[in-house]
Amino acid sequence: MDLKLKVWRQKNAEDKGGLVEYQLNDIEGHMSFLEMMDILNEQLISEGQEPVSFDHDCREGICGACSMHINGEPHGPDAGTTTCQLHMRKFNDGDTIFIEPFRAKAFPVIKDLVVDRSAFDRIQHAGGYISVNTSGNTQDANSIPVPKVNADKAFDAATCIGCGACVAACKNASAMLFVSAKVSQFALLPQGEVEAKDRALNMVKQMDAEGFGNCTNTGACEAECPKGISLENIARLNREYLSASVTTDH
C-alpha cells in the first residue's frame, strides 16, 4: 500500500516544530508500524535527511517505550495494542496517517516523537515500592496466603507498562490511571498494605507537582490503555487517598 505520512518533526525541546509530510510506497500489511517507520528512516537517510527519532525498544508490547499518537489515538487505531504491535494491515492504501508525539505539559518533547516521561519515574520514587530490604532474610513466600481474587487484581494493575498512553489520551493530560494502577497493585497485597496510606498520599502529591491535569472520569485512558487497566483502579486510588487523608496522624 501507498501512504501519506504527516509526522511531527521537532529538532529539540526549544524548537517550535511542525508536521512534515512524507510519501511512503509499497508498505506491506504484515509489517509492524515501527517497521514502516524504519523504512521511512532508511528512505530519509538515503536522501541525506535526518531520520525521525522515536522511542522504541522491545517491539513486543511490554517495555512501554514506544509512544506515538497515531491518527488521533495513542498507539493508533488497534485496541489493546502498543505502537510496536500495531500492524499495517489496520491501514488502507492511500491513507493519510498523522503521527504526533504524546502531548502533555508533564511530558515535554525531547526530539521529534520522543518525549520525556521521567515524571512517571519521579512519581514512583515518591512511594512506588514496599520498604523491604533485599537482604534475603524475609519470611517464606507462602507464609502469608493471598486470596486469589486479590492476587489476580493486583496482577491486573501491575500489567501497566508505564507507556503514558493514559496521559496522552486524556483531555486533561491526567496521570490518574497510571498512578492508580501502581497504588492498587500494592494496596491489594498484604505486603503492600502496611505502607498503603503514605504511599497514596505521597504519590498523589508528586503527581500533582509534575503538572498533570485533574481526572474528570471521561474514561479515555481506559479506552486507550494497551494493557486494559481498569477505571476501578482510579476509584480505588480515590478511596485510598481520601481514607489516608482522614485517618493518618499527619
Binding site: K6, W8, L19, H69, N71, G72, E73, F98, E100, R103, A104, K105, A106, A169, K171, N172, A173, S174, M176, V204, K205, M207, D208, G211, F212, G213, N214, C215, T216, N217, T218, G219, A220, A223, E224, L231, E232, I234, A235, R236, L237, N238, R239, E240, Y241, L242, S245, V246, T248, H250
Partner: protein, 259 residues
C-alpha cells in the same frame, strides 16, 4: 497548611469538592421536581403557591437553600477553575484527535456553563420576581371539612401584605381563606412565551447530558465503585438523572404553553 486544606487542594480533593457539591445538587433536583409537580394539579395554583410559601419560610429549608446557593456558585466557579487547570496541563494540542470518552464527559464545562446561564434566567424569572417583583396576590377559600378549594379570588394589583401567607378562618361557613403571592400565574405567564419555553427545554436536555456523566462520575470520584453496585449507579444516572428528571422538568413549560 492544615491536613484538610492540603487534602482539598490536591487533584483528588478538588474533584471531591466537585463531586460532593454536584451530588448535593442532584438531590436538590429531586426535591425541586417534587415541588414543581404541584403545578400539574388543576387547583388554580393552590398547592403550588402554598408549597412555595413553605419552601421560603421553613427555617431548615431556608438554611439548606443558602447551602444550595453556595453549592451552585461553587460548583460553577470551581468547575471553570479546574477546566482552566486541565487546559494548562496540555499547552500544545494534537493536530488530530479521536477523543475517546463520551461526548458529555468531554464537555462538562460547556454543559455546565449553559446550565449556569439557565439557572440565572430561571432565578430571575421566578425567584427574583417572587422576592422582589410585584406579583399579584390570590386568596383561596377552602372548606375546612372536605379540604376542597371552593373559591379563588385574584386580588387587585395594589394589594400587599406583611406576611407571606395570611390565613383567616370563617367558622360560620366552615371555611378557611389563604392569601398568598400567586407564583403560579407568573409561571403561566412566563411559559406562554414560546422562545422561553424552547430555552427551558434545551436547557433541560443540556442538564440531562451533564448528569449523564456527572452523576456516576461523582460516585467514581468518591471512590464508590464496586462491580456489584456500579450497574445500579449507572442505571440511576442514566434513567433517573439524565432522562426522567430533565424530562419531567421540561414537560412543565411545554404543558403551560399548550394548556
Amino acid at each position: 497548611m492544615s491536613w484538610l486544606t492540603k487534602t482539598l487542594s490536591s487533584s483528588i480533593g478538588k474533584k471531591v469538592l466537585m463531586a460532593i457539591t454536584g451530588l448535593f445538587l442532584c438531590s436538590f433536583l429531586i426535591i425541586h421536581l417534587m415541588g414543581n409537580l404541584q403545578l400539574f394539579k388543576d387547583d388554580g395554583g393552590y398547592a403550588f403557591n402554598t408549597y412555595t410559601v413553605f419552601m421560603t419560610t421553613n427555617p431548615l429549608i431556608k438554611t439548606v437553600s443558602y447551602v444550595l446557593y453556595f453549592s451552585i456558585l461553587f460548583h460553577a466557579v470551581w468547575g471553570i477553575y479546574l477546566e482552566y487547570q486541565n487546559k494548562k496541563a496540555r499547552p500544545q494540542g494534537y493536530a488530530m484527535s479521536k477523543n475517546q470518552g463520551s461526548l458529555a464527559s468531554r464537555n462538562m464545562a460547556i454543559l455546565g456553563t449553559i446550565i449556569f446561564v439557565y439557572i440565572a434566567v430561571h432565578l430571575g424569572d421566578f425567584w427574583y420576581e417572587y422576592k422582589f417583583g410585584h406579583l399579584p396576590y390570590v386568596t383561596y377559600t377552602e372548606s375546612l371539612s372536605t379540604g376542597e378549594v371552593t373559591a379563588i379570588e385574584t386580588l387587585p394589583d395594589s394589594y400587599t401584605q406583611e406576611v407571606k401567607m395570611l390565613e383567616t378562618f370563617n367558622e360560620a361557613e366552615g371555611t378557611k381563606s389563604i392569601t398568598v403571592k400567586d407564583l403560579y400565574v407568573e409561571a403561566e405567564e412566563a411559559f406562554s412565551k414560546p422562545l422561553l419555553v424552547i430555552f427551558y427545554v434545551i436547557s433541560m436536555v443540556v442538564l440531562g447530558f451533564h448528569l449523564l456523566h456527572g452523576f456516576q462520575s461523582g460516585f467514581q470520584t468518591l471512590g464508590l465503585n464496586h462491580p456489584k453496585y456500579n450497574p445500579l449507579i449507572k442505571k440511576v444516572g442514566i434513567w433517573v438523572f439524565a432522562i426522567l428528571i430533565p424530562f419531567a422538568f421540561a414537560v412543565i413549560p411545554v404543558y403551560f404553553l399548550i394548556k
